[in-house]
């Protein structure tokens, strides 16, 4: 085989290997899965003050709901939104005789919102919060559902469901350190709130 032919073969082999590697990379691409609905004709900039209700915990982790609530509050505060102190929200819920947040009706939400003097209320649930075992490695998994209810109309103006998890390419193949559980939660919340502002 001449030198030229060998070079061509080598180039083709390199290109094919590159193609296969690209395919593997593409297969490894994950990222946050996010589904959002933002009601049309809603002026989100007018919402300056909100209250975050206790987040319903649907996981086996004891304080997952509270972790999520704190992260959501911190995220909204970082965007310049005024958030009512969680203790004040709990106090109003107690006064109204609310035992579980999943049973609060829209009418009650409007009353709670008016009493707290907020423009909107955030409620939600956490469906996954923990370390899951994958095909070959363990990884953090977080899934959240958040809703924003307009206090003046009682309409759901924003609904977002997001999940993040699974080890990335580098973690799976080279054992690189991936995101921690808290970092994953922060990333999910950040990407959800990004859809609003």
């Amino acid at each position: 085989m001449s030198i030229q032919k060998r070079r061509i073969t080598r180039t083709r082999t390199v290109m094919l290997s590159f193609l296969l590697l690209c395919l593997l990379f593409l297969n490894g691409c994950g990222g946050t899965k996010l589904t959002v609905r933002l009601k049309e004709n809603v002026e989100i900039d007018k919402i300056k003050r909100i209250a975050v209700l206790p987040i319903e915990n649907l996981t086996s982790k004891r304080f997952a709901g509270e972790y999520v609530r704190r992260t959501v509050i911190a995220e909204f505060l970082s965007r310049g939104i005024d958030v009512i102190e969680p203790g004040e929200v709990t106090s109003v819920l107690r006064d109204k005789g609310v035992r579980t947040v999943s049973e609060i009706s829209i009418e009650q939400l409007k009353e709670i919102g008016e009493e707290l003097g907020v423009d909107a209320i955030i409620s939600g649930s956490v469906g996954a919060y923990g370390i899951s075992r994958g095909v070959s490695v363990s990884y953090p998994e977080v899934s959240l559902h958040l809703l924003m209810i307009d206090v003046s109309t009682g309409n759901i103006i924003w609904s977002a469901w997001a999940t993040e998890g699974g080890p990335d390419f580098w973690t799976r193949h080279f054992g690189a350190e991936g995101l921690s559980l808290s970092e994953t939660l922060q990333k999910v919340v950040e990407e959800m709130v990004d859809t609003l502002y």
Binding site: K33, S105, W161, G166, R172
Partner: protein
Amino acid sequence: MAKRYNLFIVVGLLLILLGCSSTTPPVVHISPDVDMSFIKRVAVLPFKNLSEDRNAGEIVREMVINELLASGLVDVAYTGDVMAAMKRQRIKDPTSLSSKQIRRLAKDLKVQAVIVGTVSKYGMVRLGSISAPEVTITLMMADAGSGSIIWSVTLTRGGAGFMARHFGAKADTLSETALKVVREAILTLYEY
């Protein structure tokens, strides 16, 4: 020349296997004589949970609510309102409602249809040496006027793909699998 063909065959096979899926199509029923366009607002009732995860019913219900809202097809009654209406109508088991109860509940919530569901599987299953998520759900929509089922879908998804099993590609998490199932189920309504 033969070597080149072999290489193409290998690449071709890999691509075919990548595209191969052993997924079963959803079992769908849509009442032919019903005009879905008049359904503008629905209520999603708590789902029956037959899985080992005690919160699976509620997790999938939240996904269904969000997917319906995100699709822009219909508006969804707030879950707290649904619970309050169920209490008012003295409904204890939302998965076995009579036509009369469906009509009363729908009138109370001002919805044109009611969605009930069952989560049969929600968890990780062992497939040889690896674990993979598996989710099976059934969703049904009952017409508020007649109380009859106008849409029903059953589907299951899960397992680790070829690339995940053999080349360490990213496999879906349990939440991602559940999202796929719910999205595909809602899509059958969307396509209609």
